[in-house]
Symmetry: C2
Subunit: 327 residues, 2 copies
C-alpha cells in the first residue's frame, strides 16, 4: 500500500480518496452544496512545504489538520455559522509515497469531524514541492464580522493565550530556550499540541454571539491571529482606521509562561495562534471574559490614524510586528 | 514597477492586487457572496508550472486566462447558471517579477469580464514553482448536469471541434507536423487561439437549456473534455455504467483538419478542448445541433459494462484513452 503516486496513477488516487469524500466532485466535474437561503463565506489558503510546514516538524496528519484549522479560523473570524464544505487542491512530487496523501486526508478528516464540514471536492497534480490549497465555505451567522468595524472606546479581547504554537515549534526543533527555569511539563505539552493540532476559535465565536448584552448593538470587529497577535491588531487598526493601546501587563500569556522580552515577543508575534482578536464595546468584552474564561482583555481602541502603542504611550515599532514572510 | 515579489513584500502585493478585486477578502479574513437562495456548484483546479503550463508557450496573461477557463468549464459541464466568484491561490518563487503576477491577474480579469464572475479572494505564498489554485463558485441552473445520467439510446454530442488546442501547442513549440499539405492560415490561427485563449462552453450550455424539446424530460449527462474527448466519453461511461459507440467518420474535427491517424489522435486525446460532451435523448441532440451549429453528434450510448468502441464494433483500446498524466 505504499507505492508512490506515479506508480498508482491519477484514477486510482482519486478512487482511494473517495472514502474521504462522502459527497462531491470525484464522480462529477463539480460539487454541489446547499446554503439553504443563506449568504456564504469563502476562504482560500495555501500551505507550502518548507514555508508553512516541513516534514521535520509536521507529520502528514498534522499538515492536513493544520490546513483545516488555518481555513476555519478565517471563517470563524468572519462570523461563520455552519461549515458547508472544503475543497482540497493537493500538489506533491510524483515519487511521494501514498502514505503521505493518506496521512494528510486522515488529518483533514479528523479535523472536519471535530469542527464540522466535509471534503466536497478538489484536484491533484504532481509538482516539485508539496502544496495544500484549501478552500472552505460556510454560512454567515447572526453577525458578519469584519476587520473594519473597530471603534473608539472598544476593548480589545484575545480569545486565548498566544505564543504556544511558536514555543511548540521551538521544542520540536530543539531550539535553545531563553529561560533558566525548566518549563512545566503541562506547558510543554500544551505548546506541542498547539503547534501540531491547533484549533480554530469556533467555540469562542459561539460564546461571543451568545453572551452579547441586549443593550449593546450587534457591532464587532474581528480577525484571527494566525500571523501573530500584533499583526492581527495592526490589521484591525488599518481596516478600521483607528489606534490600539495594548497593556503589557495583560498580554494573553499561558499559565506559567516565562517572563522576559523574548517570551513576550513569541506571545506578540510568534504566529499560528488561531485565536479571535476582537474589538467590541466594553460591556460585551466583560461579558465575554466571564462566559469564556480563556479570553482576556488586552487593550483598547482609540481614534486616530493607525498606530499601535503600549498603555505607557510608547509606540510599538513596526519592526516588532512580524509581517509574516510568505515571500 | 518590476521588482521581484520578495522586494515588494506581502502587504504591498495585496495592495496592488486590490484593483483586481472589487469585493472580497483583502481587507477581511474571508469573502462573502450571496447565492440568493440557490444551491451552489464548487470547483477547484490546480495549475502547476511545467505540468499544466510553461513560460515557453504560455504568457502570464494566457496562464491566468486558461486557469479561469479550466474552472468555468467544469462549472458549465455541471449546468451552472451564474458564476458568483473565484478565489485565487497563487504560489511563485520569491524572485518572480511583479509583472508575472500582474499578467496572470490581467488574464484572469479579462476572462472573468468575458465569461462572468469576479475575483473574491485568495492567498499567496512563495514556493519553488509557480502554481495557480483556483476555486470557482456558481449557482445551479435549470438542470444540474451529472456524469452519471447517460442512458441506453442517448446520442453523444460534442459542443465543438477537438484537437485544436493540441495543434496550437505543436505550432507554438514548432513540433514537426505529420502532414504533407500546408495548414490553412485560418486553422493555424484558430489552433493557437484555442491553446492560448480557450473558452469555457457556456454558450453551448445556454443553447442546450434553451433548445430542449418540450416532450423530452429534463435529463442529460455531461462532462467537459479538458482531458481529451475519449477521456470524457470514458468518464461518462464509468459514471453511468454504460457503453459508448463512436463514429470515426463523425469525429468533431475542425474545418480543414488534416486526415490521418495522428490527427485523429489529437482530436480524440489532444486534451484541453473545454467542450461539453453530452449524452442526451436523440430529439434533444438533433435540436441542439440545429440551434448550436458548432456541435456535432459523435456517437451513441448503449447498455452494458463500461466500454468504448467504434461503430464497426472494434473496441477502443485503453492505451488510446489518454489518461492525462498529472502524476
Amino acid at each position: 500500500m505504499n507505492e508512490s503516486l506515479n506508480q498508482i496513477g491519477e484514477r486510482e488516487i482519486l478512487n482511494r480518496l473517495k472514502r474521504f469524500m462522502p459527497i462531491g466532485q470525484i464522480e462529477d466535474d463539480t460539487a454541489q452544496i446547499s446554503p439553504q437561503g443563506k449568504n456564504i463565506l469563502v476562504n482560500t489558503d495555501v500551505l507550502v512545504e518548507d514555508v508553512h510546514f516541513s516534514d521535520q516538524t509536521t507529520s502528514p496528519e498534522d499538515a492536513g489538520w493544520r490546513a483545516i484549522t488555518t481555513n476555519l479560523s478565517d471563517l470563524a473570524s468572519s462570523g461563520v455559522e455552519e461549515i458547508l464544505g472544503i475543497t482540497v487542491g493537493m500538489i506533491a512530487p510524483a515519487n511521494t509515497p501514498w502514505s503521505w496523501v493518506e496521512g494528510v486526508y486522515t488529518g483533514i478528516d479528523k479535523a472536519l469531524t471535530k469542527f464540522g464540514g466535509k471534503v466536497i471536492g478538489g484536484d491533484c497534480s504532481s509538482g516539485n514541492q508539496k502544496v495544500l490549497a484549501i478552500t472552505a465555505i460556510g454560512t454567515v451567522g447572526k453577525l458578519r464580522l469584519h476587520r473594519s468595524e473597530a471603534m473608539d472606546g472598544d476593548l480589545l479581547v484575545a480569545s486565548g493565550p498566544h505564543g504556544l504554537s511558536r514555543l511548540g515549534l521551538a521544542l520540536l526543533k530543539k531550539e535553545p530556550l531563553m529561560t533558566n527555569k525548566p518549563l512545566s511539563e503541562r506547558l510543554k505539552a500544551a505548546a506541542i499540541e498547539a503547534h501540531k493540532r491547533p484549533k480554530p476559535p469556533l467555540e469562542a465565536l459561539t460564546e461571543l454571539m451568545a453572551c452579547k448584552p441586549t443593550k449593546v448593538p450587534w457591532r464587532a470587529a474581528a480577525t484571527d491571529s494566525s500571523d501573530g497577535l500584533l499583526n492581527a491588531v495592526e490589521n484591525l487598526c488599518i481596516s478600521s482606521q483607528c489606534q490600539a493601546e495594548l497593556d503589557l501587563a495583560s498580554l494573553p500569556r499561558e499559565k506559567n509562561w516565562p517572563l522576559g522580552s523574548n517570551w513576550d515577543e513569541w506571545c506578540l508575534s510568534g504566529g499560528e495562534d488561531f485565536e479571535l482578536i476582537l474589538s467590541i464595546p466594553p460591556l460585551w468584552a466583560k461579558a465575554l471574559i466571564k462566559a469564556f474564561p480563556s479570553s482576556k482583555i488586552i487593550g483598547l481602541i482609540k481614534s486616530g490614524p493607525p498606530k499601535l502603542s503600549w498603555n505607557d504611550g510608547q509606540e510599538i515599532k513596526q519592526s516588532k510586528i512580524n509581517e509574516f514572510k510568505h515571500f
